[in-house]
Symmetry: C2
């Protein structure tokens, strides 16, 4: 496994591999790799000859300095996980390479970035689209794989890649879950014991919504009431948002479920009463289908 920390070296390697006719897949990550990331690596492997992983904790996509500083980092463990997963190249850029002195350039996606996490986390998606553009330009992959857990991020990156004409196929991969249903996330390790136990409330709320739809419910308001009622059962959970939106444009859907509709959830947990764990915001989603 090759570890590359310079953009210029990565671009030369990409040129060489592409000239040899090899298909390159990139999996952009912020490290703290878990089984969810490794499933993205497997998806990438199925679609390409070479799998490249980037590891970069991107400061500009954190809306709270505290979240950035507390974000779990363990590069040695990450590299070991990549090696074990058969990754070919790991790109480990420095903050100075990604944001050189005087950096003034941003990639912005309008509209799709305004609701949901965009409303809760001002500037977050601007950081995401800017850093993903830089990673695409550094690795020049044929395909890039992102998790569907961050559904809005995936929709925003797809739109960005289409609009700017990146020669990169953007692929979404299904969310991996703990045995109790909690979506895998690097932030899960920061939950206190009580918060961790109650964090399954997100997937239970999604299940409740799906069950309601299966039993014939079509009213958005009724579906969201079921979701809110479920969240309310977890005393440590604070609902940030629960919304039904078009899965592609992320526009608010009409009041009745007719076509596949995204149910997106964000829930905040505070540290446990005994002081263990931190403030953690979890997201999850499901596309609801009226059959």
């Amino acid at each position: 496994m090759q570890i590359v920390d310079s953009r210029a070296a990565l671009q030369r390697l990409s040129d060489e591999e592409r000239a040899r006719g090899l298909r390159l897949a990139l999996v952009p990550t912020m490290g703290a790799l878990h089984e969810g990331h490794l499933s993205l690596v497997r998806e990438a492997r199925a679609r390409a000859d070479r799998v490249w992983v980037s590891i970069f904790v991107n400061p500009t996509q954190f809306d709270e300095a505290q979240d950035f500083e507390g974000y779990p980092r363990d590069p040695e463990r990450d590299l070991e996980a990549c090696r074990a997963a058969g990754v070919d190249v790991v790109y480990l850029p420095s903050v100075e390479e990604m944001y050189p002195e005087g950096a003034a350039t941003w990639v912005d996606v309008d509209r799709l970035t305004e609701p949901l996490c965009g409303a809760s986390r001002p500037g977050h998606f601007r950081g995401v689209t800017t850093v993903v553009s830089k990673l695409f330009l550094a690795a020049k992959p044929h395909v890039a794989v992102f998790g569907e857990k961050d559904f809005q991020q995936l929709a925003v990156i797809r739109r960005m890649a289409r609009d700017l004409g990146f020669d990169v196929e953007v692929v979404g991969a299904p969310t991996l879950r703990e045995s109790d249903g909690l979506a895998l996330s690097s932030r899960n390790v920061r939950l206190g014991r009580e918060a961790r136990a109650q964090a399954t409330v997100l997937v239970r709320a999604l299940d409740a919504a799906e069950a309601a739809v299966a039993s014939g419910e079509r009213s958005h308001e009724a579906i969201l009431s079921r979701v809110r009622a479920e969240i309310a059962k977890a005393p440590r959970a604070r609902l940030d948002y629960a919304e039904l939106r078009d899965p592609e444009s992320l526009e608010r859907a009409a009041g009745t479920l007719a076509s596949p509709t995204l149910l997106a959830l964000a829930v905040r947990f505070e540290p446990d009463p005994d002081g263990s764990g931190g403030a953690v915001r979890l997201i999850d989603n499901r596309v609801l289908l009226a059959r």
Copy 2:
């Protein structure tokens, strides 16, 4: 000469040429090609094995609909000029390909885009950086050539390419001039007869500033007074701006000329009293050196 109107086809062609080890140069234009553009083609030829020209009148960089509609267009003549100049590929994208339905993505450069033409033409540089990003991603060239007449544009594109990490060398080429000194511009043909005669006031103002510096003048205010006095001699010229700035950051320089300093000018002309010609804004610049 190959004419390509699809981004996907251009990207495949770029991949093939790059895989063969050929060096590609792109000259982005809005058509209405004149000798200035052809000098960019020669510069490109000297730096690459293949010269590609894009022709696209980019709607998003016009701050006035009137200017966009009135912008000279003559694709047949442009293609003939490219053929005669030995251009290898012309990329002629449609507006729909460059701005697909629902397009929501912008590339923004902060700070450098605020003064000078950025102040006079709100949104102009956002349009430029967005379309140049799309052209770079479509052609995937090794090098791209831009004219130094649009000095701020060149500085902004350099910054963008550096910040995002485009694998493209951005090259500036010197301004070509008519025999009377007027900088070549596609907009010159829209000047009325009187306005055209007086349009040499820009280069005369630059010359006056240079002469003042050569004779020992170092005060910014004194240099700019000379410029304004020169412009005032042309009754049909209205000064838009005359400023001294750092050539790289475009920040306002200190009050005394010490290092190479950009003198940037923009002057507006109205239609001639007989109604001939249109409203035209001309720009020119020179880097002043205190020797």
